[in-house]
């Protein structure tokens, strides 16, 4: 059988910020300091960190750049529970009705009334890669993994097709641990 492989990356908890919120947290006209380019074209992990405060406790996380039109916190369910936030599983940007939190930076703090989510697992394809893999934007695919005696098949992986995509599946740390992943690995696409 012909097997289509795809890189599976683990997204650690992180925050996306608007320029306005970045300014409040780090000072006026602040510019993020890129630390590492991500697989998605133009996206980067930053040196800067913030503290996200929930009703039970708080947790530090990195900022992902560049700035976005809306501030968004992405964390794993285990982490959300530990800080006392009942975050729903959503695709990035689908923030309506999600819980908020307080965020503290070195120069100030913000309170968002929504924007805290557990990211829904998804796979990025360019239009050309989507043709090659036989997937359509929004399609629900499966990814098979077999590592460290925790073999599993993730269903409900949403294909996202965009010109700036880097071919990769993104899962959170709970999912990576459930699959026993030692780091970035290759998975097998099942349609």
């Amino acid at each position: 059988m012909f097997v289509l492989k795809i890189m599976v990356e683990t997204s650690a908890r992180h925050i996306h910020l608007t320029q306005e919120d970045l300014d409040t947290l780090f000072g006026k006209d602040y510019k993020l300091t890129p630390k590492k380019d991500l697989s998605q074209v133009g996206q980067f992990a930053c040196v800067e960190k913030v503290e996200v405060i929930g009703p039970k406790s708080s947790i530090k996380m990195s900022i992902l750049g560049p700035v976005r039109p809306e501030t968004q916190v992405e964390l794993a369910k285990t982490e959300a529970r530990s800080i006392g936030i009942d975050a729903p599983t959503r695709m990035s940007g689908d923030l309506k009705g999600t819980p908020g939190c307080k965020v503290i930076g070195p120069k100030g703090e913000i309170t968002i009334d929504h924007g805290v989510i557990v990211a829904k697992r998804h796979a990025h394809f360019t239009p050309e890669q989507a043709v090659e893999y036989g997937v359509k934007d929004g399609q629900n695919i499966q990814i098979k993994l077999d590592y460290n005696e925790r073999a599993l098949i993730f269903g409900d992986v949403i294909a996202r097709v965009s010109k700036t995509a880097g071919l990769a599946v993104h899962i959170d740390t709970d999912e990576a641990n459930a699959a026993g992943l030692p780091g970035t690995v290759d998975g097998e696409v099942i349609l």
Copy 2:
């Protein structure tokens, strides 16, 4: 198709203690206080809690009774990482070469040189249930789940057959979160 269902329970982090370690932590000839019976015959969650100390931080957990021949800490990979312990994925009781930790109770503390594990996912059957489900002790089975837009199929689920079994699959909190489970659910056995 004939579908075999099985209850899937999430094991939160916990510790099993020897009577000797229990005495050190809670006082001589201490008797555990049962809080809730578990699905496995004779096993119970206790009112008592201890603090497990790793190199990075510590975490509180309940004791599961009755006392055992060997002290064993079971926690999810996310939790092990957060306290700084690189715990391997093992079946309960398979503790050779596993890392240790310090444990603090109200009356004293112990240091174990091994016994910290991430539990390997498994399914309990009585001999009669094993026949009904068509599984053998030690067999690697799959469990299909479909909850909260995080459908998945867990592979590497080890069947354990014993007379005192309560029919159930046991997974940890990382696995439960990866599967979007709202609590105890039914899964589907795939052989």
